[in-house]
């Protein structure tokens, strides 16, 4: 099955799992998608290879950047009319708290859809969604 086919299937079924499974980097991070109270939430379970600061210890900031960029792509695919893999133009990450050695949750929201460019706001949290550990503005080329 081609990526296009997987995209179409994922979109028509509303389940992104098959798409997450064909993207090697998402498997490397261990990301999966869950539905919580009718809302799409992405999960990056804690794993030793995600650690960036062994003395605190804390997650590598890059893993949070990678997670937030990935979920912007996935959310765009899930909500766009014509599914295709978008390309990131710009990613701006604010690191708000250190990522502890526990599971991380993330969600993305489309802020503006354009013909060629879509902007999303993404948030990552651990214990409490109201105390996010990182937020990102992601600008995608979609056309």
């Amino acid at each position: 099955m081609s990526v296009e086919d997987v995209l179409r299937t994922a979109k028509s079924s509303g389940d992104l799992t098959s798409l997450v499974e064909v993207i090697p980097y998402l498997r490397f991070l261990g990301v999966h998608v869950e539905s919580r109270e009718g809302r799409r939430v992405f999960v990056m379970p804690f794993a030793e290879h995600l650690v960036g600061n062994p003395t605190l210890p804390a997650l590598h900031g890059g893993t949070l950047g990678g997670l937030l960029e990935s979920i912007a792509h996935l959310e765009q695919i899930a909500t766009a009319e014509s599914p295709r893999l978008p390309k990131t133009i710009t990613l701006t990450i604010d690191y708000l708290r250190s990522g502890k050695t526990r599971d991380t949750y993330a969600a993305a929201k489309v802020v503006k859809t354009g013909r060629r460019v879509t902007t999303l706001q993404c948030l990552a949290w651990q214990e409490d969604e109201n105390a996010p550990i990182a937020s990102a503005m992601v600008i995608l080329k979609v056309g």
Partner: protein, 161 residues
């Protein structure tokens, strides 16, 4: 660490890679470093696990963001002339293009200024020529954060092990 001539690349490489599990998982290794200007160049070898688009085999932007963040952080240590607990505050990455498939990626960062509390870094990711990057980044780091830096003794012990 003292003068440019005495940068111990092996020590620095061990601190960057062996003590940072995620850098090790990405296979990041130090290529070059200098104090003035405070620059670091690292290599991230091609790895099919990091692919973001299975059709084009282009590496995922997340891996590029990570190598830029890691390199930027290392350049702060050179500017400060010592490892210190730091934390990325903000990181912006602009993708001018994509890294070609099956190619090793390099990242080069320069910490060009710091105050008592913040360090400022610009960085590029490229394949052959740093003057022709496929991604550019700017980052700020908080200095004197919680936690502690890895000591030289720990790195030396790790090197012997």
């Amino acid at each position: 660490m003292a003068d440019d001539e005495t940068i111990d690349l092996e020590m620095m490489n061990a601190a960057l890679r062996d003590f940072v599990p995620h850098n090790a998982a990405l296979g990041i290794t130090l290529v070059a470093a200098s104090y003035t200007p405070a620059t670091v160049t690292v290599k991230m070898p091609w790895n099919p696990q990091l692919v973001g688009n299975p059709e084009t085999q282009v590496m995922h932007g997340g891996a590029i963001t990570t190598v830029l963040d890691a390199t930027a952080g290392a350049s702060v240590f050179l500017k400060l002339r010592q490892p210190a607990p730091i934390a990325t505050l903000d990181l912006r990455v602009d993708f001018l293009g994509r890294a070609p498939a099956h190619k090793d990626v390099f990242a080069r960062a320069e910490c060009y200024h710091h105050t008592s509390s913040v360090a400022f870094v610009r960085a590029v990711a490229y394949v052959e020529n740093p003057e022709e990057p496929f991604a550019t980044a700017s980052a700020t780091f908080a200095l004197s954060t919680r936690g502690r830096a890895i000591t030289e003794q720990e790195v030396r012990k790790g090197l012997k092990a």
